[in-house]
């Protein structure tokens, strides 16, 4: 009798562990082991077949810091971040301000702006690549009609990176806008009523009431967009593949090329570790900055 109560008790204690077991097991095998593995493989010269691995110690990391393509890809990634994040946020803040109210036309605009979320990077890439194509593209043709000459949007060392940044903004500004609208709708109405009594204009209200009230959401957006910028790969892969002359080769594009096209898994792992360090550093710096601002 006592045994069976003990058993029953034990079984009951096991229940939560059984509930989380599938997820924890999968996370262990497919997230945690690979993360630790990244540190391991970064110390070897190793190929996809896993044969003939040689221990290099920190050799891969030494190579990373003298590799001009690494520095180039880091430069491209920074450029992307500095251009994409402010543009994206400016558009999202303006549009969210204009579309906060739940009117019928606002709802339609929001639905349209959010739509590109369903387009894969592949479809987005194909679409814009052909619209901007130097021969068959409609936009290129219109620019020609306007007297700009034949612009080669997709193959120009100076502008192609910005063209891809544009595609990225096109695909994601609706998401940022929607997130901000959600936050702006939660600003208590009493704040605006007080402002109305004080005869404070709509524009002023937006800067002095709306924006400060949605600051946590803004910080969240800045952080996710910056971290996202350091992970850019898809849209580059489906449009330029990093060209022309590596001017659009981001850090992750370069990791992919090293690992899977040049088949140097160890070196690519070392690059991944550097990426991880950068992302964690940015998160830490921005997070402390956010906390400091909030306590001020």
């Amino acid at each position: 009798m006592e045994m069976s109560i003990g058993k029953k008790h034990l079984r009951k204690r096991m229940v939560p562990y059984l509930f989380i077991a599938p997820v924890m097991l999968l996370l262990l095998v497919f997230n945690i082991v690979p993360l630790l593995g990244a540190f391991g493989t970064s110390l070897f010269d190793i190929t996809t077949t896993l044969n003939n691995s040689t221990f290099l110690g920190l050799g891969n990391f030494q190579e990373v810091f003298t590799d001009w393509r690494f520095w180039n890809s880091l430069k491209v990634t920074f450029k992307w971040t500095i251009v994409e994040v402010p543009i994206q946020l400016f558009i999202a803040i303006s549009l969210a301000g204009l579309l906060t109210k739940n009117t019928k036309s606002n709802k339609i605009f929001r639905a349209i702006y959010f739509m590109p979320i369903i387009c894969s990077a592949t479809a987005t890439g194909i679409m814009w690549k052909l619209i901007l194509h130097s021969n068959v593209g409609y936009v290129t043709y219109m620019f020609r009609l306007l007297g700009f000459g034949k612009i080669n949007f997709m193959n120009n060392s100076d502008i192609t990176i910005y063209v891809i940044v544009f595609m990225s903004v096109w695909k994601t500004f609706g998401i940022s806008t929607t997130i901000l609208i959600g936050a702006m709708q939660n600003v208590p109405n009493s704040l605006y009523e007080a402002a109305d009594i004080d005869n404070c204009g709509k524009f002023k209200q937006f800067f002095y009431i709306t924006l400060p009230s949605v600051k946590p959401t803004l910080w969240f957006l800045v952080m996710t967009r910056v971290i996202g910028s350091f992970q850019v790969f898809d849209i580059v892969y489906t449009t330029t593949g990093g060209g022309p002359n590596y001017t659009t080769e981001t850090l992750v594009s370069y990791i992919y090329t090293r690992g899977f096209e040049i088949n140097r898994m160890g070196y690519a792992s070392a690059l991944s570790i550097v990426l991880l360090a950068i992302v964690l550093l940015i998160t830490l710096v921005m997070y402390t900055a956010m906390l400091r601002r909030e306590t001020d």
Binding site: K12, R13, V15, Y17, F19, I20, V23, M24, L26, L27, V29, F30, N31, V33, P34, L35, G37, G40, T41, T48, L50, L95, I112, Y113, M115, I117, I118, C119, S120, A121, T122, A123, G125, I126, M127, W128, L130, I131, H133, N135, Y138, Y141, S168, W170, T172, T178, I179, G182, Q231, F233, Y237, I255, G259, F260, M265, S269, S272, L276, V279, L280
Partner: protein, 277 residues
Amino acid sequence: MSIRMKRRVAGIPIFLLLLIIALIVLLPVLWMMISSFKPAKEIISFPPTLFFKEFSLENYLRLSKRLKIFSYVQNSLIYATLTTLPSVFICSLAGYAFARFQFKGRNFLFITVLATMMIPFQVIMIPLFLVVKTMGMYDSYAGLILPKLAVAISIFMMRSAFVALPKELDEAGRIDGVTEFGLYWKIMLPQVVPTMITMMILGVNAAWNDLMWPLLVTGTTKMRTLANGLALFIGSDTSEYGPAFAGALISIMPMLVLYIIGQRYFVEGAVTSGLKG
């Protein structure tokens, strides 16, 4: 002019601006849809046309000859559904346990789950590829699907949904003497159906559009999904404009339909999880 009229007039430039942005979003997609029905010679003609002069299915026929398009679509469907359904199930199990049970190590384990959210997929993709390959799952459905099942953000969302449920619910169930799994399955899970639908829609969309993992883990044409098969196709042969249009349209259409039906869930997901683009 009355104040009201003035407000109306002042609103016109804003409305025009919103309209122009809407056109920048919509027109490229429309142009691509229309162009996919142009005959090949019209696509490469100069000047480019806005609307097709002649309706043709040539591009779609060419696409099906050049690529195993049906197999790609089938693989994308398998990848999207067999990733999403089990994922929502096991993540809801874990979310439920983290929300409604007290157990040793709960906080530590939950923080571990959240920590994996901080690690970008791009950081672990190389060793993950090696792990999957060593397990003999390279170029297989198992290799495609298994690593994508445990999603930290889903666990987090499910936990939030279950935390919000009133405590009386499990007390009532416990008095009736249902098992712990029965309590979860019959009483709790039906309460969080909207969250589950949101997760399913976001999951299907993410898997259908996923480029990177299928690109890494599949090696033969018969295992390719639509997003990565098409990407490889345009990468290798950029002169096939017509079939590229057709393929891109095929890849967009199912998700567009899903968006039109379930827009509210897409928005819900964006707001609660702040999903990445």
